[in-house]
C-alpha cells in the first residue's frame, strides 16, 4: 500500500500515465498522424510522399521519427533582444498544455463500472475548456518574446482567432451539458449509450467541428501560421528541438480535440463488442471503438488542408460571430424545445 493505493491500482495508474492515454499514446498518435497526413495529402495532390525511411519498403513510416531526430540535433538559436525566459519556456509550456487535457478524458469503461481515465473529476468538461483557452496565451507570449515582426503579427492573429472560435465552442458545450445534465465527460458518454449526440445535435456537431478546426489552426483556418503572409506565424524564429516540441504539441492538441469530440458527440467507447478483443478485456474493445472514431475525425480534419484555401482573419471572425454563434444558439433553443422527445432516449442520467 503506497499512498493508499493497492498494487494493482498502482500498476494501472502507471499504465495509464505512461502508456494509454498518457505519454506514449499522444506520441504514437502524433507520429502516425504526421505520417498519414503527409502520405494522404501527397496522394490527394497526386504525389507519393515520404518513401524511404521505415520498416516496410516504400512507405516512409518512420519519416516523422527521422525528422524529429534531425531537428533535435540542430542548434537552438535565440534571436537577439528576445525575451529569453519566455522564448525558451513557451515550447515546453505549449507541450504541457497540449498534453494536459488527455488526462481528463475517459477512454473506456472498466468492467467494475469505473472509467479508464487518468484523473476522474465530475467537472472535466469545464477543465478541458479552461485548458483549451490557455493555449493562445502561450502563442502570444512566444510571438512577442521572439522580437520579430512576423512572429508578433502571427501571435496577434492567434489571439484574434481565439475570439472567433471560443464562444461557439463554449455554446456548443453548453448545449451538450444541458442535454445530458452534467459536466462529467464519462456521464455524457453514458447518456449516449442508445443514441449519439451527433444525431440529436447535428448543428452543434458541425459548429464544434469547424470551431475546433479553428482552434487547432488547421486549414482553412491556419491564419496564425499563414505561410504566404507571415512566413510561419508565431513560431517563425524557433529552431531545432524547440520547433520540434511546438510541432509535436500541435498534434497532441489534435489528439485531445478528436478525443473530446468523440466523447461529446460520437458516443465515446460505445459500440458492439469485438469478439477477439472482448475476450482479453472489454476495455480493449471500448478503446478500439474510441480510436476508430478518432481516426475518422482526424481524416476529416486533415482533409481540410488538401481542399480548401485559407480564409482571411476578418472572414473567420465574421464567420465565427455571424454564422457559428447563431447556429450554436439555435441548437440550444432546439435542445430546450425538443426536450420531451429526446429525454426518454438517453440512458444513464
Amino acid at each position: 500500500m503506497i499512498l493508499g493505493l493497492s498494487f494493482p491500482q498502482i500498476v494501472e495508474l502507471i499504465l495509464k500515465v505512461l502508456i494509454f492515454p498518457g505519454l506514449a499514446f499522444p506520441l504514437l498518435f502524433a507520429m502516425i498522424v504526421i505520417w498519414f497526413e503527409r502520405k494522404f495529402l501527397a496522394r490527394i495532390m497526386l504525389r507519393i510522399g515520404p518513401l524511404h525511411v521505415g520498416p516496410i519498403n516504400r512507405t516512409g513510416l518512420f519519416q516523422p521519427i527521422a525528422d524529429f531526430l534531425k531537428l533535435i540535433q540542430k542548434e537552438i538559436i535565440v534571436p537577439d533582444n528576445a525575451n529569453k525566459f519566455l522564448y525558451n519556456i513557451a515550447p515546453i509550456a505549449a507541450l504541457i498544455v497540449a498534453s494536459l487535457s488527455v488526462a481528463f478524458i475517459p477512454y473506456a469503461l472498466k468492467p467494475d463500472g469505473s472509467y479508464w481515465v487518468i484523473y476522474y473529476t465530475p467537472l472535466s468538461l469545464l477543465l478541458i475548456l479552461a485548458i483549451f483557452t490557455a493555449r493562445p496565451f502561450i502563442m502570444v507570449a512566444a510571438g512577442w518574446a521572439s522580437n520579430s515582426k512576423y512572429c508578433t503579427i502571427g501571435a496577434i492573429r492567434a489571439a484574434l482567432q481565439l475570439l472567433a472560435y471560443e464562444v461557439p465552442i463554449a455554446l456548443s458545450l453548453a448545449s451538450i451539458a444541458i442535454m445530458s445534465g452534467t459536466f462529467d465527460l464519462a456521464k455524457i458518454v453514458e447518456a449516449q449509450s442508445s443514441i449519439w449526440f451527433m444525431i440529436l445535435q447535428p448543428i452543434g456537431f458541425i459548429v464544434i467541428l469547424i470551431a475546433m478546426m479553428a482552434e487547432l489552426s488547421r486549414r482553412p483556418f491556419d491564419i496564425p501560421f499563414a505561410e504566404q503572409e507571415v512566413v510561419f506565424g508565431w513560431p517563425t524564429e524557433y529552431t531545432g528541438a524547440q520547433f520540434a516540441l511546438i510541432m509535436v504539441s500541435e498534434y497532441f492538441d489534435l489528439c485531445s480535440v478528436t478525443s473530446l469530440i468523440t466523447v461529446l458527440f460520437l458516443g465515446g467507447w460505445s459500440g458492439p463488442a469485438i469478439p477477439l478483443l472482448n475476450d482479453i478485456s472489454p476495455i480493449l474493445s471500448g478503446i478500439f471503438w474510441f480510436l476508430l472514431k478518432m481516426a475518422i475525425l482526424t481524416v476529416i480534419i486533415i482533409m481540410g488542408r488538401g481542399i480548401y484555401p485559407r480564409l482571411r482573419i476578418d472572414q473567420l471572425l465574421d464567420a465565427g460571430w455571424s454564422v457559428l454563434i447563431p447556429l450554436a444558439i439555435i441548437q440550444i433553443i432546439i435542445t430546450f424545445l425538443t426536450a420531451q422527445w429526446w429525454l426518454p432516449l438517453l440512458g444513464g442520467v
Binding site: 490527394i44 497526386l46 482533409m303
Partner: protein, 144 residues
C-alpha cells in the same frame, strides 16, 4: 454554396486513390526523347580545328586547347546553355548532343571537360527505364 463547399471534399478523396505519375528518379529513369539535348560530346578524329564552335558559343563555354598535336575545343559544362548552336555550325559534324543529364561536380573546375573527357561517351543506363508512353497510361492520357 453548400455544394461548392462539399464538392472539393469528394473530389480530393477521389484523387487520393488515383495513381500518381511521379518518376522515382534515381531508381527508375525516364527515357528522354530523341531530340533531347543533354550535353555536347566531341569526336576528336573529325575535328578540323576550325574554331567555328568557339566563335559561335554565346557563353564562352568552349575554348581551344592543344591535345595530341592538335587544337581541339575544351568544354565547360558549367557555362554551357545547351543551345545547340555549336553542333549546328560544326562543318564536319564532330560535335553532337547526347542524353546525359546527370552531371554534378563538387567544384566549378570539375565542370571543365578536357578534350579526352569531352570525347568520351557516358556509360549506357543500365537501370530501369520508363518511357513517356507508360507514364501517359498512368496519367490517363493514352487512348490506345
Amino acid at each position: 454554396m453548400v455544394v461548392d463547399i462539399i464538392r472539393p471534399f469528394f473530389l480530393g478523396f477521389y484523387h487520393a486513390f488515383k495513381r500518381t505519375f511521379t518518376v522515382k528518379h534515381p531508381f527508375v529513369k525516364l527515357r528522354l526523347t530523341e531530340r533531347y539535348r543533354g550535353r555536347v560530346v566531341l569526336n576528336i578524329d573529325r575535328c578540323i580545328s576550325c574554331r567555328s564552335c568557339v566563335n559561335i558559343c554565346p557563353n564562352k563555354a568552349l575554348e581551344m586547347v592543344k591535345f595530341e598535336k592538335k587544337l581541339v575545343p575544351q568544354y565547360d559544362a558549367g557555362r554551357c546553355c545547351l543551345c545547340n548552336l555549336c553542333v549546328e555550325i560544326c562543318p564536319t559534324m564532330a560535335l553532337s548532343m547526347i542524353h546525359e543529364v546527370e552531371f554534378s561536380e563538387y567544384t566549378r573546375k570539375g565542370f571543365i571537360y578536357t578534350p579526352d573527357r569531352f570525347s568520351q561517351l557516358p556509360k549506357p543506363i543500365a537501370e530501369k527505364v520508363v518511357t513517356v508512353k507508360i507514364l501517359d497510361k498512368k496519367r490517363g492520357v493514352a487512348h490506345g
